[in-house]
Symmetry: C2
Subunit: 413 residues, 2 copies
């Protein structure tokens, strides 16, 4: 047995907080619904504020609605270190996605406070606004909010100005929310993996190497709709035959070249979509992700050449429209090392892996040093009622987070 | 110039009838809507009955609602020859599909009557019920109606019993509608091609060799829905990747083997159909048609082997369910010859071709000798407002029909 000589968080207290927060927005049929800016989100923000203050933090809300708790450091001349995540959920979410990162941050501060400890740096715990939809919170901190408020409108029609006002933000003061490395020295986010790599490998902790970049495209294939009985095979311009070649080309793009890229056609619609009509038009989506930005650009070039080839041989028109571009963000090597050391300290096994899902840390990593810690997700499941990470796994993640900050606090930054 | 010594139909009168009938159900936005058993269908049946009686025919309606006009022959011991088609349309139909066959039949009888001519055989002109949907009219005459009335229910919920009553039929007397070769000696249907073969070849008349058989299948591909970002390529069971291989295999089936078969995937639905989710399920339709029943069965065998192969390599489950089986019907060689002779008589160019669309003649051909005459469709278009066959082409078709009957009347049958 290794004797742990460093402070340790209170796993039971963390678990109680996770369960208490999950009561807010709990659905009768199972799962949690706490959409950003909803009454449930407001109630959860209030509870989290109370917990932050009880842990010795001062609390404020920035212009994009991020709820920020600050635990003072020993040296006021140092920019704060920060952790955090989000407490909003998808329409039917689980208890851990986002929430664990926020509550583990608070638990870290609770632990410091009850042991009368302070870091040299101030330590912030941040609840980012609307991670599950517009990511306006982390975007605002990175100064990347689009000036068109229409893009941030809720599905129920509520405008973003109203939403921000509800939580104490202010759309007209977006610029003030922006931060830089000089006032946020480093950011570490703890999150459930939302995938099956750690569980599959039987490993405790994922040291995230970076968050993958993501491109999305809409592809429109135009052929000629025609009678499925009377149109000879050699007279057809079948949009679905062309689209099927596109689906296979996208799959081949990701599987035939070395690298960890993933490529998916998740949405495909056929027009007119009738049994006895040769398809005249198909719309489909392409989602392409990789940590390596150079590789992503190369894959897009290959994709474009493939689409041209397919259009020619199928005598169809294929239009490629980019709908999303999120550049990859790499985790800072020093933060990865600090996490590794924390794992060794706690006898925790670990692997390095990229995050293939987006996180608040992705935007924050654009202006300051960033790192992420993953804990296992049972069955790789998330965004569902049965999302699960055990209390022991949550506690270990929080301890790794604590030790990572103890370590980072000692490094010049 | 060949001097035509045979009676000739009145092309202007035929054109006037076509235009008059097309007024019934004419849509403000263009096109004709005369759904079977609707008020418009009833009005059209009434007008056609009046025309039949004026042409010297006795008129009755059989149990499945077929409207039958009979022009007496010189010999009452002979079974009638018959022609006809349908006057119902799809929701937005044209002026020629079906209608031409009925009105050309009436025009043939008008011509015989005004020249005081009779055939040896009685000559029937038949308006078949509901060709565009359930084909209950021709099915009933062939004794092939399914005893389950639910299968014949209208989209608006009206049951078939009510529909048949409206037009003078009687669901409870289905069996009486059935006919055999002994009381229907031969059937010849004139129809617009609904395809572009004749126009493309610059040919006046199509001598139909038969009506293709048609198989329809529903294919269900089951994989596993998963996160498009966090699921590595080698862990996926992507139902759309498998379905795309099915689409290409179906296309290959029809294009890579000799023969005139056509194969189409016209309908394809993806579940859950979201950009960021690896598809978990796909449903698609297969429509397979050919005149050669042996070839069709061979293709289905090949298809089954391909689906098994695709399921294995994609680690998905693929289920094939047959939803339609219509056997091919061959046109009688003697009737094809009579049509060819009529073409030579009228200096009309002709080609032999299969009908790749279904027609009333398909069911009638199951119990008696059948033939079909095609006239060109401009641009191959049908089931649309701009369906068009010129008055000259319609008149030539009607003359070919008349001469075909003059010829058939002389052959022992």
């Amino acid at each position: 047995m290794t004797v742990i000589t460093i402070p340790s968080i209170n796993g039971q207290r963390l678990e109680r907080s996770l369960m208490e927060l999950s009561q807010i927005g709990q659905l009768a049929q199972g799962g949690v619904c706490r959409l950003a800016f909803s009454a449930e989100d407001l109630e959860a923000r209030k509870l989290v504020s109370v917990w932050m203050e009880a842990a010795g933090m001062t609390v404020h809300v920035d212009a994009v609605g991020n709820l920020i708790g600050r635990y003072p450091g020993r040296r006021d001349d140092l920019a704060p270190l920060a952790t955090g995540s989000h407490i909003d959920t998808v329409a039917v979410g689980g208890r851990y996605d986002g929430t664990l990162g926020v509550l583990a941050g608070i638990e870290v501060v609770r632990t410091l406070k009850e042991q009368n400890l302070r870091l040299d740096h101030p330590l912030e715990v941040i609840v980012f606004s609307d991670e599950e939809n517009t990511v306006i919170g982390c975007q605002g901190m990175a100064g990347k909010v689009n000036p068109n408020p229409e893009l941030y409108k809720r599905r129920d029609g509520t405008d973003i100005q109203t939403c921000l006002k509800r939580v104490g933000g202010d759309w007209d003061k977006l610029a003030i929310a922006r931060r830089s490395k000089s006032d946020l020295a480093a950011f570490v986010e703890l999150h459930v993996e939302q995938g099956g790599v750690l569980e599959g490998a039987g490993v405790d902790i994922g040291v995230v190497t970076g968050i993958v970049g993501q491109y999305r495209f809409l592809v429109t294939v135009t052929g000629t709709a025609n009678h499925a009985g009377t149109t000879p095979m050699d007279s057809r311009q079948d949009a679905l035959v062309a689209a099927s070649q596109v689906v296979l080309a996208v799959n081949h793009l990701a599987t035939s070249t070395p690298g960890e890229q993933v490529a998916t056609v998740g949405m495909l619609k056929v027009f007119p979509n009738a049994t006895n009509t040769v398809p005249g038009k198909v719309e489909l989506s392409i989602d392409l992700r990789d940590l390596d930005g150079e590789n992503l650009r190369g894959l897009i070039g290959q994709l474009e050449r493939e689409l041209t080839r397919i259009a020619t041989i199928t005598r169809t028109e294929i239009l490629l429209t980019q709908t999303l571009e999120v550049l990859p963000t790499l985790a800072h090597p020093e933060i990865q090392q600090a996490i590794e050391e924390a794992c060794r300290q706690w006898n925790a096994s670990y692997v390095h892996l990229p995050s293939r899902a987006g996180h608040d840390a992705q935007e924050i990593g654009r202006f300051t040093d960033m790192g992420m810690i993953f804990v296992p997700s049972r069955g790789g499941i998330s965004h569902a009622e049965n999302e699960f990470t055990s209390p022991e796994e949550c506690a270990l993640g929080a301890n790794i987070l604590l030790y990572t900050f103890l370590k980072l606090d000692q490094l010049p930054r």
